[in-house]
Symmetry: C2
Subunit: 448 residues, 2 copies
């Protein structure tokens, strides 16, 4: 009998929370964004809720809107290692840019985190379009979209090949024979590609879960190709079940066409939660947050998303028909926000307010624990989601409300674990431990 399908919950740990005004919430401290005690407290709270993982988005440059709100300043692998030391079960997923890193360095760093944490690591492989990042790495501009994703696919090929350097039994540790490892069981990658030439082998053994879980985010066609080839979990953006199911179908079809078995990719749409004991209380919390968020910040958000100067629009008129999805930009987010605004007949101001004050591009639910649990179950059972990439409005209070009041309902509905049932992130996500295989990039020869 197959085990019952399980819901997966990942905390998208966005500094003070996903709402634009999260850091302004009473009690929240501005300096928390660089305070290890805060980072650990939030992760422990997610672990108390038996979440699958905490996830850190990332962006290796000073963000444009840093004057308004905290951001991911500390490098994700350092934060995740800090969290690893203070937790026992929860998975640890970090974002890395395939555009501005050498695959050997990333393979090694996340293999190290994976070992240090007892097999709890994951990497979210992204490409980086921003000029502000390009400027930090010796470039005038980023490569075009297709090239970036082409490189990301090859980057992930190399990282996986390096993670397969050591057979699981390469560490011999025979003290009587003075034999530490068997070099015949450690294999170079011999990767000679378009973007990377990497011999290997990696100098790190395989971990308890084989290698870190590979995660992808981004809904473009190129992103879908990266996900179909490599991802074991995908962070998506969808405002409706229909959109989400359509994405799931496309992804699954493409993954199966590439020969991957069914069920080898977990799909986790983003979900912003604003929770109240009653619906009125939840709405009051949303209003209080929106009242705290400077309008300027919301305008900067919508201006960036739609590549317009939002200050030149009437914020309280119906959305102008001229607004369109910009050709080059965050296409999936822009399409989702525009479609929602038109469906719900929102003004620009209403759109901003309904998107966490311009703090998030993801679907938001404002409601009671019962309403949120019901929506989660509905998406889960309809096949629109395997779980969610959760973005509480404010941390830690919004996460606390979720853990205290929504998680028990999900458990009662029989779709979410009562306790951790395994040790590794793969165990939590229901993913198999990958068998060792000779690195794909070249023949199996000793590295001696």
């Amino acid at each position: 009998m197959a085990p019952p399908r399980r819901l997966h919950l990942n905390l998208n740990f966005l500094s003070a929370g996903s709402h634009a005004a999260a850091w302004l919430w009473p009690g929240n401290r501005p300096e928390a964004f660089v305070d290890p005690a805060y980072l650990v407290d939030v992760a422990r709270l997610a672990e108390r809720g038996t979440f699958d993982a905490v996830f850190l988005a990332d962006h290796p440059s000073m963000p444009d809107r840093s004057d308004f709100r905290p951001f991911q300043a500390l490098e994700p692998s350092i934060v995740l290692t800090t969290i690893a030391a203070a937790t026992r079960h929860i998975g640890l997923i970090g974002t890395i840019s395939s555009s501005y890193n050498a695959p050997y360095n990333i393979a090694r760093r996340f293999a190290s985190l994976d070992i240090i944490s007892g097999g709890r690591a994951g990497i979210n492989v992204v490409t980086t379009a921003d000029k502000s990042v390009a400027f930090n790495f010796g470039s005038e501009r980023a490569a075009d979209h297709a090239t970036r994703y082409d490189r990301a696919i090859e980057f992930t090929d190399v990282v996986k090949a390096l993670w397969n350097s050591w057979q699981d039994d390469a560490l011999v540790g025979d003290k009587a024979a003075s034999r530490f490892i068997d070099r015949a069981r450690v294999h170079p990658a011999h990767h000679l590609g378009r973007y990377f030439q990497v011999r290997g082998p990696l100098n790190v053994p395989r971990s308890r879960q084989g290698h870190p879980v590979i995660v992808q985010a981004g809904g473009s066609d190129d992103g879908l190709e990266l996900a179909a080839r490599h991802a074991e979990a995908v962070f998506t953006a969808a405002h409706t079940q229909e959109d989400s199911r359509a994405y799931v179908s496309r992804l699954r079809a493409r993954a199966e066409a590439l020969g991957r078995p069914a069920g080898s990719v977990v799909v986790l749409p983003g979900l912003v939660t604003i929770i109240g004991g009653t619906e009125a209380e939840a709405k009051r919390r949303e209003e209080e947050l929106n009242a705290l968020a400077p309008l300027e910040q919301g305008l900067a958000w919508i201006s960036g998303l739609l590549q317009i100067d939002a200050t030149r629009y009437d914020l309280d008129a119906p959305l102008p028909d001229t607004l369109a999805v910009p050709a080059d930009g965050m296409t999936t987010f822009a399409r989702g926000a525009l479609a929602k605004a038109r469906r719900q007949k929102l003004t620009l101001r209403q759109l901003i307010r309904s998107q966490a004050g311009g703090g998030s591009n993801h679907r938001a639910i404002v409601g009671t624990p019962e309403q949120i649990a019901a929506s989660i179950e509905e998406w889960f059972l309809s096949g629109a989601a395997d779980g969610f990439n959760l973005m509480p409005d404010v941390l830690p209070s919004g996460l606390e409300a979720f853990v205290e009041h929504v998680v028990p309902l999900l458990r009662r509905r029989g779709i979410f674990r009562n306790a951790y049932e395994g040790e590794t992130l793969r165990d939590h996500l229901g993913l198999p431990r990958p068998e060792w295989a000779p690195p794909a990039g070249g023949e199996v020869v000793s590295a001696a």
Copy 2:
């Protein structure tokens, strides 16, 4: 009145220990090299001994002699973050290759470690000559010596400029005014150099100690230039006080010529210790270790160091006059070993055995706690050293002996601290917190 000059002790945490046979010592577990509990236990032991710091050497490729002994597999910043979470005082110094990293990534990662640890981070900036590493980063070979060091100097320029991105008061955190940071107090680096073009600013604030301590190792002329420009601590190799004092004089003269104040660089020669309750006991321990170490391993060590095939030499004859320092290689180490062998009239076998069985290129003392404390004091008082980069023969037992028996003697002699007197690595090393200064690479303009 100036505070008394203080001895500095840094643990060079070489996996199982510096002796070639360290991992074979009874009780040592082969898998310790990737066990976070082991890494933390050793660091805590060093902290119990009020050491200034633990230091991790590094090498981003599979080492040649990995079949013989454990090595630094896990990436240093991940290990140091793990140690940071389990300790309160001890400094955390990681090696990074300036040859195969982008300065923005390194500046950010170590700034993050510095903040996470409360101001305890340091980076040891090295250049990487090995082909095996070049192959992992898309190169057929490393750049030549002068180019590597030229790049290392520029690399460190950029890293320091990025560490000066934020003025200390850039985080405003004014919730009433919805003002998180003052962008006018965050400055790009605008670095346009020969090897790197980096705009910045770094997306990480300054830490409690300003920025990580910069460490350098390597005794070539190019290495000395890097040290004189940038290093705040230097790991050196010297078998005699005369050699060490000569290096110290050259370094200080060059640093002063570059306008750096006296006392701004701490010099720490490497020191291998093999400790026994009596001299006979110490020698017995050395003999037991040498008996455990495969001769093959010692031959591989000396063959690599002198670029010879040592199996073709008579190991028990006097050292042939034809042996010379190889032109391109680890010149300082080779010169030191050859000079010592000639001074002490050693055979090749004796040379191997006296260098921790071929496990270390550094000076070794085999003796009682009193003898070791006396030698440390003598070097310290003569100006040959500000302290030592300590390499116990076997970990943890050799470190335990040092902490239990040598440290109390150093304290009694009044040269080593009885307890930590400050919080940051700079406090421990007696280095000032660097004042914020506009990034050197460009004009001070807002990054908005």
